[in-house]
Amino acid sequence: MKKLLPILLVILMLGIFTGYANGSEYDLTLFTVWKTNPNFDQWLSGVESATGLKINAIAEPTDTDTRQQKVVTILSSGDSSIDILHINDEMGTSVKNTGWLVPLNDTVLTDDIIGYFPQGYMADMLTSKDGGIIGVPSYVGYLAFWIDQVKLDKYGFKSIDAKEDFVAFAKAATEGGNYGYGGSWEKTYIHNELGIFVNLFGGDYLDWTNPANKEAIQFMYDMVNTWKVTPVDVLADKYEQMNQKFIDGKYAMLFMWGTGGAFRDAGRYGEDQIHLAPIPQFATKSIFTDSWSFVLNSASKNKEAAIKFLQYVASKEGMVSGWDNVLAYPARSDAAQLLPDSDVKDMYSLYQRTCIVRGRPMLPQTMEFLTDMGTIFQLCMQDKITVDEFCVRAQQYVERYK
């Protein structure tokens, strides 16, 4: 037995290494944030049936920082173990000019289909300085306006059409430990809402000498400190905390990405509960669009299979499958037309018709920029710096990180 054990161990080791040496049973490896969606396996089966590919799907971390670090480590180190990655705008802006991703103009996003994608977004977020389009948007999303109809009815409002309605409703709904407006103002999250308010006031996120920007900051400051329609607690909240409080009736309205999956799961989604609403008119009626895009790793050794995958997800059929399985609203306008009528389809069409739709402003050193902006925003909301000082510092960061 004593002599047999080392021999068995050697055989076992050889077996393990041989297994690796013979190569993977999969055609490609997909690193995606959708992996944790309950219907992901259904979506993946559909992709595999349509493409004939066997796909190894790995879950991306849900935490922003961890995900960013993992993705840039994979791409910057030339790690070929991941073929397709699912990245958001922040990551896309950071890596699109690095040469770590394969341009898809000639193979996937060809002239016959590129017109169906949001042109401004594609240009701002996914096109490198050499003109290469580096990603296929897996959906189109909006930082939409959400309202709790229960509170709208309770306080006698029919709709929130303008800034005056917004403020009046926020004030009316602030009582008994509940607040009119909820937010997610943790330092790496605040850039979304900060940007939307800047846009609503007609400002420019990358120009903090613009007086409209100052108006926007002052408005947000007043929400917390003057009118007290937003609790200062929001400075610690990420989306999980904000959504939970909205579900629990703590807030009357907020801006949030997505199609309301969390609200549906909590039984709080519907015409008489929490639902999408038209963007109110401030100085402008603006909305952010975003997406997560599938990108092809330059180091991938399975490019042929990867392109096949990307061609499918960029197709009408692929986009509709995304909606059917994981509620990803099609980024292709022709695919969106194929969806059955729904409140989400109606509202998204309304946003596209009536709002100035913009991609979020990003700089090359995205995470540093948005973290620094979040930090000074929190200092401003806590009265540690003035609104004027905020604007001065914000402009310095724009200059430093562009």
């Binding site: 935490d63 920082d65 960013q68 670090q69 840039v72 480590t73 910057s76 950071s94 890596v95 690095t98 943790e186 330092k187 790496t188 609790p231 200062v232 607690d233 400075l235 610690a236 905390q241 939970q244 409080k245 703590k250 090359p364 050193q365 995470m367 540093e368 930090t375 929190q378 200092l379 806590q382």
Partner: protein, 293 residues
């Protein structure tokens, strides 16, 4: 003949440990030298910059306000956490050393916090310190009904929360290790002290404390090192916020290197931290050598 046999055996020994040495060298020694090397470069991968700058990064470290803020909180964190580790750890060890029913059970469950991954603790703590949903405020409201505090949005309370979670997680382990030291103190010494009229407090200060001092000091070296490189509690609980108020130096290093991809600067910070740790452990070891009871 015997010398030749010994020499052959030595060769065999070296050959057998060579794979482990090579792996160790590749995974530990090589990264250390590589870190020193790249600390002399300005490497910003997003901008495609790789430029030799000599000791410029080291000069920048001492002028960077974010690093200064991180160092300040790291000093506060290490000093306060260690002081409480020692005091509360010894108290807990003394309790666990007493004879009472359920002592074995208590000694087992007291280690549960230590066994939990720090990331899990941090994520749970984010909720625990929430004003509306947190169990901390819920507990305080038993005594102060209208208590309201969002712990993680203010500098002092967020720092207190981070230190509290660090203590909650690691004091049990410190206490168990001190308890091990307490086991070696012979009961006869306490008996003799009782015969001489010494009370429990006198026994503690004249017998227990001197005899466990060396043990506690050596433990303090390790625990201080671990505090100095603490990263996961801040990463999962506060993301360094509010602002940069809870960004420990190890968190800053990770952010610079892996989020901002400023690899050269991140390496510089790592080297500086390494030197601080070497200095600290050298001084403490010298001090420990001088103690003799």
């Amino acid at each position: 003949m015997q010398t030749k046999k010994k020499f052959n055996l030595l060769w065999v020994a070296w050959i057998l440990i060579l794979p482990a040495l090579l792996i160790r060298g590749f995974t530990t020694v090589y990264p250390i030298f590589e870190t020193f090397r790249i600390s002399l470069y300005d490497i910003r991968l997003f901008k495609g910059i790789i430029e030799f700058v000599g000791f410029q990064n080291y000069v920048t470290v001492f002028k960077d306000p974010k690093v200064i803020a991180s160092v300040k909180f790291t000093v506060i964190f290490v000093l306060s956490s260690m002081a409480l580790h020692i005091v509360l750890g010894i108290i807990l060890a003394l309790i666990l050393n007493m004879n009472f029913k359920g002592r074995k059970f208590l000694r087992t469950i007291v280690l549960i916090p230590w066994a939990m991954p720090m990331v899990v603790v941090g994520i749970a703590a984010r909720w625990a310190f929430d004003n509306d949903y947190g169990l901390v405020n819920d507990f305080i409201r038993w005594f102060v009904p209208n208590f309201k505090l969002s712990w993680l949005i203010y500098t002092n309370s967020s720092r207190l929360a981070v230190i509290a979670m660090d203590l909650w997680k690691d004091i049990p382990f410190f206490a168990i290790l001190v308890l091990a030291g307490l086991q070696f103190i012979p009961e006869e010494i306490y008996e003799a002290a009782r015969v001489d009229g010494a009370g429990p407090i006198q026994s503690f200060f004249k017998i227990t404390l001197p005899l466990i001092t060396k043990n506690v000091l050596i433990l303090s070296i390790f625990f201080t090192m671990w505090r100095l490189v603490s990263f996961d509690i801040v990463y999962s609980m506060t993301s360094g916020g509010p602002g940069e108020d809870t960004a420990l130096i190890a968190y800053r290093i990770t952010t610079e290197a892996f989020t901002n991809l400023n690899l050269g600067y991140g390496a510089t910070l790592a080297v500086v931290l390494f030197l601080v740790m070497v200095l600290f452990s050298s001084i403490t070891l010298l001090w420990v050598k001088k103690i003799d009871y």
